[in-house]
Structures are given as structure tokens and as C-alpha cells.
Amino acid sequence: MRYDTRRALALLRAGTRQRDTGFREGQEEAIRHVVEARGRLLVVQKTGWGKSFVYFIATRLLREAGAGPALLISPLLSLMRNQIAAAERMGVRAIRITSDNREHWQDEEERLRRDEADILLISPERLGNEYFRTEVLAEIAERISLLVIDEAHCISDWGHDFRPHYRLIERIARTLPANLRLLATTATANDRVMDDLAAVLGPNLEVLRGGLDRPSLMLQTIRLPRQSQRLAWLAEQLPALSGHGIIYTLTVRDAVQVAEWLQSRGLPVESYTGQTGDGREALEQLLLDNRVKALVATTALGMGFDKPDLGFVIHYQTPGSVVAYYQQVGRAGRALDRAYGVLLSGEEETDITDYFIASAFPTRDEVRQVIEALEAAPDVGLSIPDLLGRVNLSSGRIKKTMALLSLESPAPIAKRGTKWQLIAADLSGGFWERAERLTALRHEEQRQMQEYARLESGHMEFLIRALDGDPETARPPNLPPLSTEVEPGLLQEAVTFLRRTSLPIEPRKQWPAGGLPQYDVRGSIPSEHRAETGKALCIWGDAGWGGLVRHGKYRDGRYRDGRFADDLVRACAALMAQWIPQPAPEWVTCIPSRRHPDLVPDFADRLATEMGLPFHRSLSKVEDRAEQKSMANSVQQARNVDGSLAVSLEPLPGGPVLLVDDMVDSRWTLTVAAWLLRSKGSGEVWPLALALAGHDR
């Protein structure tokens, strides 16, 4: 197919709305290469260079010459919204089919079938979806003229942001015949990643690679171990920073909490996470329009979010790798002379990253449990709910195990409809080698980031070297470093803020599927036998009370039966004083335990004294069961409670009761206890727990 220079330039000018603009270095070459099908091309350029113009213009030229549509696979399509507008100005009809526009799927699929789309944008996960592949993609698959793989570094084992479904893309890329046009793009790829990509995309891969330095960035690292210190620091520094920016956290919970704290200090910020749902687009727009000081975001605000005048990127915790960090901090100051990139590091981040690393792959035991369950299952296989009843794994772990196994080649399992079946292949040893290799690599990347967090100077050089660029190109910034001090008054307020949280415990209204045979109950729980909505003081291990609860339960308990601190008694009493449940509890009782016979009763007794109420032990454990926390999903936990509790106090005091426990997970113990108490004549049951835990949380 012939490349038309004048037409391409006209399209660029229409897309950018700049009449006399020209191509950036390498852009035109790349477009020509794709259109003329000269072989596979990898473009490595910083965000903002204009990779999207390459594939949109190429798509348009191909379509004008009568070729079929293009397919673009990208992990984060939020990035696409402003680029799609540019595409439309060039007359490229783009269709997005992603999890956040489900309501449009049918229309979009119809447009595809009528050949009214020039480029289809999907996530890697969509490509792995059986329905999408067989019912939607299959209709246009034979006409696709160009495949674009965005964020191609994810294909590589070495890519920082390992996404299982890139395994699928890797295999598809390996299977594609040489005559299909293929363009891969990424902003960051070190030498190891490049080698991997060459192995997957073929020896004749053409590479177009730009430089790495960001001279406008003032990089700084500050060690503040406690979350309260970092909250205080943010509250003080944020108002003084010029412009608008992003604060990155490692977890959703932290993003929400940091945003709440800053809002409570009167700062205009919003949280943005994978759980924000439909509001994400509006939040991005707020930041683009400078109507918030910052978004407090997880990596869900990710690759390709395009705000050239972003004034700062602050990390609340250290990310897991240099590649991830460079991508995130690199969003700041693209079109500014100066911008801040500040990394705060704290004590909890190592645990969080370790957790991400450890849970990235299923364990051998998890795989064994799932395979054994499938082997024992009927021919039609098992659905995820079927598996929950058969293996002691959380639904999250089951889904992860199934997803990763089914992406293997050969895959030992396959899904037909909603059921998983075994197929005639064993999981190859390569799976475990790969898991071990990637796990070791993740730890190495984590170590490298920890080294960065300790740097006194030379931050940009460090990053460029780690990314196999030329560190000589780094130019010094012209901004003063920010203060590393924390104001004591703010610190105290941050501590109080972290401890202020109380969380609702919603009562269960249904017995589990199949009921509880030993208690002979099933179906819905009559409202007069349900618990009321209770409260928990904190989340297990959080930055407020979490540490103190853990200390009471385990640190002390390792040597003798533990004791929860008096501070926790006072905190619960304060919580009750604020809560004021009606009708107010007239007596206090607690969940019994054989393993720690006095831990919770002692605490409940002291709390009752503090509140001026009588305490009665009213429930007993009929037989030893495994600890609830060793049960990995709700079905297993419900069965584990069945028949294990009984009322041991006759007669029960008649009034409303406060039911105390240390940790709440599936709520089945509380549900059964409340049902027992109420059937034996107690008043309303108000659950109160020190901490919420949860495998699936």
C-alpha cells in the first residue's frame, strides 16, 4: 500500500487542530512503515510524544485504501478519551468496548458488524473473554488489517506491570503470520524488556526509540516512617505547591483515607481508584480543568493520562519498581519548565509490595486443590460457586488461579460456558519457573526502588541508568527541595484522624446456600432473629488502632494469653458514646473461644465496667473447630460455624445486648450467635468488634 505524505500531514493538522504543525521526529517514518507493511515496528517514546497519532493516521490511510479495521489492545483505556476526540477530528471512527461502557456494547457490536468502525479499542482482558472472542471479534477477525499493542512492555516478563492477559497477546503475536501489520508501543523499556520483545515479535523487529531525560523534574525522596507523619507533611506542603498534581498511593484504602484527611483540612482533592467506577472520567476532567488541587490515586489513574501542565506527582508510598515509578512521576511537568516529583517512603510499604508480589501467582497448593476438585467433579466441570464449596480458597484466589492457569500454554483447564473443565494437558513446569523467576525479579525491583528512596542526590541519573538510558543526558533541576520536617500540631491531628474511623457491620439476612444442617436452618433469617447493624473500631492492621489490636491478639498471645490495651477499651467506649444504638444495650456478652478462653471476655468485661453495664458469659463453644480465619471463603466459614455454638446461660437477661468480638471476617459467627441469643429470648443484639478482617477484602 502506498504512503501519501500530504494526506498524512493533513490528517495530523486536523487532529491537532494546528494548521502549520509538522510531524515530531520519527512520527512520519513510523506511519509510513506501518502503512507500507514493511514489517513489525516497536515505538519506544515518552508519554506525550504522540504515539496515538501514529496508529490513528495509519488506520485512516489504510481504511481510505480499502483495508479492514485496526484493532488496538491497551490495558487502560481511560487514557484514550482525549485521544479519541483527536481521532474523530481525523475522521477515524473509533469504538471502545471496555468494562466501563457495558451499556453501549450492543450498539458498538452492531456498528462493528456493519463495518462502521475504523479502529476497535479493547483491553487485554476483553481479548481473553470467550464470549467476546467468539461472538464479537470472530465477526471481524478475518478483516483486521493492523494490530496495535499498546504498553507493549507488559508482554515482557520483565515488564513492571505484569498483566496475565499479556500472555495471551504474546501468544497471538507469535502466531500471527508475517504479512499482518503489527505496531507495538511503550513509553518505557529497558534493555531486558527490549530483548524479550524482540524474542516475541520476531528478529526483524524495527525499533524507534527516544530519550529518557525529563529536565523539568525536581526529584526528591523523603523518609517518613509513620502514616500520620506523611499525612501531616501533605497537609502542610500541598497548599504551598504551585499548580495541580497527582498523589499516588499503593492501595485503594490509602487513597480514600488520604483524600478524606486532606478534605478535612479544607483542601480540594478527590480520590481516584479502580473502584471509583463511572465517576472516573469526571474526576479526570476535574484535574484537567484545574478544578481540584490533586487527585489521590492508585495506579488506576495510569498510563497515558495526558495533562501536559501537571505541576507535581507525589508518592505516598514507594512503588514496586523503577519502571512503574518513572512512568508515574514522568507525568509531571511535560509542558512546564519546572515540576516536583516527590517520593515519600514509609514503614508499611514493604509489607504491601511483598503482599502484591506474593499473591501475584497461585501457590502450588492452590493449584493442586483446584485441579483435584476438577478431577473429582462431573464431566461438565465446575463453576466458581461450585468450587467455593469444594476448596478452601477465597473466591479471589480461585479466580486468580483459574485465570492464570487458563492463560498458560498448554492450559490444563478451559472454560465452557460458566463451567471450568480439565483438558488433556498438564501444567508445564515452565509455569513455576516463570513464577519463581518473576517473583525474584519483583524483589530485585523492589530493592532497587528502596535504594532510590534512600538517595541524597542524583535521582534522575539513577532512574535513567536503571532504565538503560544514558545518565549523562540528565540535567540538573532549578527548584529548591521541599521541607522534610513535620509540624507537631498537625501530626497530633493526623493521629487523631487515623483513629477516628468506625466501620459498620451489616447483618446477614440469608443463611448460606444449602443452609446450616446441624442447626437445621435455611433460607432467609427472620428479622427478629437477626443481628442489628454493628460497628468495628478499625480495619485489621490499619494505621489507626489496627496495630494495637494486632499487638494484643498476637504479640502478647504468643507467650501467654494476650490482653487488649486499656486504650482500646476507652476507644470502644468512646465509639459507643458516639454511636448511641437504640434501644440501648442493657448488658454485655461476647463470643467464646477455646483457644483464647479469656482474651475477649476480659476485654468485654472491662468495656462493660467502663460503660456501667453488667457482663455475662452467655455463649459457649460446643466443640473445637478450625479458626475461622483458616477458612478461606464464606461458604467454608459458614459450615465451620454450623453446630459449634450454644447458649450456656439460662435464663438469658431479656434486654438488648452488646455482643463483643475481637475480629469479624465472614460475619457467620456473629450471625449464628445473634440468632441463638434472640431465639432464647434476648433483646436486640448489637455487634461490636475491634477489627474487620477479610480474605477477599
Partner: protein
């Protein structure tokens, strides 16, 4: 087994395979066997390979070929690269591999014995090495008595204990009995399927043997493809070609796939010695085959005797005279150029015995495309049924074919599979439905809703409704209300005894058309 494809295999798949990856209707027809053969010959003459068609200069090569093929069609076929990747991924997730004639692992027996008629592509699951081990082919029909099932299982067991492979077709009846016997006794089995490889590969009963390397299932047809008339016949050739000797357990006389396949061997292909069962009642079919030259199966009782028979058959150069032309010329099949220098071993392609003059192609010794199409429709011998008309006999065959279809049987699919008009398919389906419904209501006091009947018969609601209405009008069924359901009408019960022979009903087709 590797799932990586060579460039030649990619090109051959793009040109000839339907590449079923889902629901999409193909907008361009893959090359038929004859068309591909023509293209392959021209490429060979130009000293090109299929992989060259994936190069940027493919267009010039195509025009150089000057084949009578639409170049736009070729371009569109070759442009299906993404679809190819999707299809391969679908096969891979079901542990299905694919081999083309250009691959070194492609079974040599097929190339040597079938020449250009060896399928360009084989799909399979399990250990492909089994395909090179020869063994005994066992064929027979789907509907057989328990005693024959027993007999066939015993043959399978004997093959297993003699350490010989058993080759069969994977269909109900004799095929599966033979395979079951061999597998249960720990033997090796090659199943050559005419359709449904995807399903068969996922069957639990196959899984262990597939994973142990004792079973290989192959098919020359796309793993997702449904039963089609011509396929079973083409498949029969592969069963014979992979074996050292064949045993026909039973056969209809003058009709049916078993008969046609065996006669083709005896009269034309002569790839291996064909035996017929010698124990018990032979029936007209086996006697007919004997008359055409099939040998009586020596009915060996020990593994040693069994081995002797197979060794003798393998060493026999069976049909050497009749096959002379074949066995030299075959080697000039398209694979001569299809070898990818890096994958093909020199032994595979370079052995002098396999080189031969390239010019004349043995149209007369290999069955042509037309023969193949015609074979299954060969009119049955007149003595088949005393009072049935040719139309009834044709319908009997159609009924058999419809029975074999998996899943629902919409008339468009039936029309496509049988290559008849939609109206004809409708007429047959309604007649088929009538027979089935009569069967269904055979017992006393059977009472069913329309939905139940539709589901049991896997027919469209429309077809069932037409029949029910007719049967009610006729008085054979009573229609009950609230809920609407149907019951056999005892007073005219005798009607239902005829369910096996479709009635000659002059107004039947018109009533089907009336809708």
C-alpha cells in the same frame, strides 16, 4: 507437542482452512482441495513455497502463478492473519495442535500412500508419534448388536496385548468399541475423526489416555466443524492409510460408509490388505466384500498370532502392482516444495526413493474429487428393502445423516450439510420429525409438552409444531389443554407401530410446504 507454526503451515492454513474461531460467517471461501492442488503445483514449478505468499511481494507471485483463481480472493484469504491467530489460540486452549504437509512431523504414511490427496492440514490432540506406528484398522457400522461390540472390544484388547496400535474412526458402535478395548487394556490408539475433534479432545474418558501418550485423535477438518456428508468418506481413506492391515467387523451391503470405504480399498487404492470378520454370522455385506477380494480375518487367539498377521501384512508390499504408479508418483505431491528447509529432515524429503519424476499426476489411480462426493450417495442395491421406493431409500440415508448431527438441527444447517435447497431440507426435517415423534409416543400414556418434544428431538419449534398439528388432525395424537400437551391416542395406537418405515404419504410434502 509444539504449538508453534512454521510460515508454510501458516500460509497453508490461511489458504485452505475455514479457521473457525467463533460465530463469524466467513466472507471468503477457502480453497477446495482441487484448487489448492493447482496452486501448489504452480508454486512448485516456480520453485516457490507457500510461505512466500506471506512476503510483501506476494501479489507478484500470485500473478506469476497464473492459476484460475481470483487474485482478490487469494489476497483476502491470506489477509486473515489475525483470524488465524485467534483460531490457533482456540485450538491451543483445548490442547489441539495442527500439522501441515510442510511439517516434518506430518505422518509419512499419509504422504506416501495418499500423495496429493493427503490432507494439507491435520488437526490433532495427543501424541502424534502414534500415527507412525501402523497397526490394525478396525471399521464397521454404528448400529451393531452387543455380541459384535464384545467381539470388537476383544480385537482391541488383543491389539493392545500384542503392543500394536489400533486405528479407528471414533464413531459410535464398532469404532468406539475397538478403541475402548485397546485403551482399557493399556494399548495405543489412533482415532481419525470426521468431525467434532474439539469435543472429543475435551471428553473426560479420553483425557487420561491422551495425557499418557496412548491416544491420538486427529481430523483433517476444523476441530469445530460439524458433521458433513463428504467428510466421513475422506476420513475412511486416512484410517486405512495409517494402518498395516484392516479388519471390517460388519457392513451393510452396497451402501454406507463402511462398504464404500472398503470397496474403494479393494478396487482402487489397495493401500493395505482388507480383512473381514470370520467368526459368527457374516451377513450380506461381509460376503460381498469377500467376493470383491477381502480376506477372511484369521481370528488370532494370541498376541503372537496377531503380531504375525500384522507383520506379514506390513511386509507384503500389498497391492504393489496396482499401486506402482501411486507409490512412485506420490512423492511428488505438493510437499516436495512445502518443506521448510529448517524443519524438514533430509531423511524425510531427500531419500532417493522418494524423488521421482514430477510430471504425470495419477488422476486415474487416486479418486478424484467427484468420486469422493458421489461415493456416499451411491444408490443402494435394489434388494435393500422389498417394498420401498427410491425416495424412501434416499430418505433412510438422510435420516441416518440427520441423526448424526450434533446440537440443534436448523434447516439452514441441514440444507448446507446435505447441499440441497432449504425447501428440500424442510421437507426432510418434517418427515424426520414425524418419525421421531411417533417413536416418542410409542409407549402407552405418553404425555409431553411441545417444549419437551422440541428439546428431545433437537429440532426447531416450527418443524415440531407442523408435525404435531398434522398428527392431531390425523387423530394419532390428542391435544390436551392447560397446560398444552400431547398424548398418544390409544384408539388409533396401531399407527405407531410403523414408525420405522416412513409412510408413503402423497400429500406429505405439500403439507410441509403449506406453512
Amino acid at each position: 507437542m509444539t504449538f508453534e507454526l512454521s510460515s508454510n503451515t501458516q500460509a497453508i492454513l490461511l489458504l485452505t482452512a475455514p479457521l473457525i474461531a467463533g460465530r463469524g460467517k466467513p466472507s471468503v471461501k477457502p480453497l477446495a482441495a482441487g484448487e489448492y492442488r493447482q496452486l501448489a503445483r504452480r508454486l512448485r514449478e516456480l520453485q516457490r513455497q507457500p510461505a512466500d505468499l506471506l512476503d510483501p511481494g506476494a501479489r507478484e507471485i500470485v500473478s506469476e502463478c497464473r492459476v484460475e483463481l481470483d487474485s482478490e480472493r487469494l489476497e483476502r484469504l491470506l489477509g486473515r492473519g489475525f483470524l488465524l491467530a485467534q483460531a490457533v489460540e482456540r485450538w491451543r486452549t483445548r490442547a489441539i495442535w495442527v500439522l501441515s504437509r510442510a511439517d516434518a512431523d506430518y505422518p509419512r504414511r499419509l504422504k506416501q500412500r495418499l500423495g496429493e490427496d493427503a490432507p494439507p492440514v491435520l488437526y490433532g490432540c495427543g501424541d502424534a508419534a502414534i500415527l507412525g506406528t501402523g497397526g490394525l484398522a478396525v471399521v464397521g457400522s454404528r448400529n451393531v448388536h452387543e455380541a459384535l461390540i464384545q467381539y470388537t472390544e476383544d480385537v482391541g484388547r488383543l491389539a493392545a496385548s500384542a503392543g500394536r496400535c489400533l486405528v479407528s474412526g471414533g464413531a459410535r458402535g464398532v469404532d468406539r468399541a475397538a478403541m475402548r478395548g485397546a485403551l482399557d487394556a493399556g494399548g495405543h490408539v489412533a482415532g481419525v475423526l470426521a468431525d467434532g475433534l474439539e469435543k472429543a479432545a475435551m471428553l473426560r474418558e479420553h483425557r487420561e489416555a491422551l495425557m499418557d501418550g496412548r491416544l491420538v485423535l486427529i481430523s483433517p477438518y476444523d476441530p469445530a466443524v460439524r458433521f458433513q456428508v463428504g467428510h466421513a468418506m475422506q476420513r475412511n481413506k486416512l484410517i486405512y492409510a495409517l494402518s498395516d492391515a484392516a479388519l471390517v467387523v460388519n457392513s451393510d451391503y452396497g451402501k454406507g460408509g463402511t462398504w464404500t470405504g472398503a470397496v474403494e480399498q479393494l478396487d482402487k487404492l489397495k493401500l493395505v490388505p482388507v480383512h473381514v470378520r470370520a467368526n459368527g454370522e457374516m451377513g450380506k455385506g461381509l460376503e460381498g466384500l469377500r467376493e470383491r477380494g477381502a480376506r477372511p480375518w484369521p481370528e488370532p487367539g494370541t498376541p503372537e498370532d496377531f503380531e504375525k498377521i500384522l507383520d506379514a501384512a506390513a511386509g507384503e508390499e500389498y497391492g504393489a502392482s496396482g499401486q506402482q504408479a501411486l507409490s512412485t508418483n506420490v512423492r511428488d505431491g505438493p510437499e516436495a516444495f512445502e518443506k521448510a528447509p529448517d524443519t524438514a529432515s533430509s531423511e524425510e524429503y531427500g531419500a532417493p526413493a522418494q524423488r521421482a519424476s514430477s510430471t504425470d499426476i495419477r488422476e486415474e489411480s487416486a479418486p478424484s474429487e467427484d468420486d469422493r462426493q458421489a461415493a456416499p450417495a451411491r444408490p443402494p442395491e435394489p434388494c435393500a428393502a422389498a417394498d420401498s421406493t427410491p425416495a424412501d431409500e434416499l430418505f433412510a440415508k438422510v435420516r441416518e445423516l440427520i441423526e448424526r448431527m450434533d446440537g440443534p438441527r436448523p434447516e439452514t444447517d441441514v440444507a448446507e450439510d446435505l447441499q440441497v435447497s432449504k425447501q428440500q431440507a424442510e421437507i426432510w426435517l418434517v418427515r424426520f420429525a414425524e418419525g421421531k415423534i411417533r417413536e416418542l409416543f410409542k409407549g402407552a400414556d405418553v404425555c409431553k409438552t411441545e417444549a419437551e418434544i422440541t428439546e428431545t428431538l433437537r429440532l426447531s419449534g416450527k418443524q415440531v409444531r407442523v408435525c404435531l398439528k398434522r398428527l392431531v388432525e390425523e387423530g394419532a395424537l390428542a391435544k390436551l389443554s392447560r397446560p398444552v400437551r400431547y398424548r398418544s391416542n390409544d384408539s388409533i395406537g396401531p399407527l405407531f407401530n410403523q414408525q420405522d418405515s416412513p409412510r408413503k404419504s402423497p400429500n406429505w410434502p405439500s403439507s410441509a410446504r403449506r406453512r
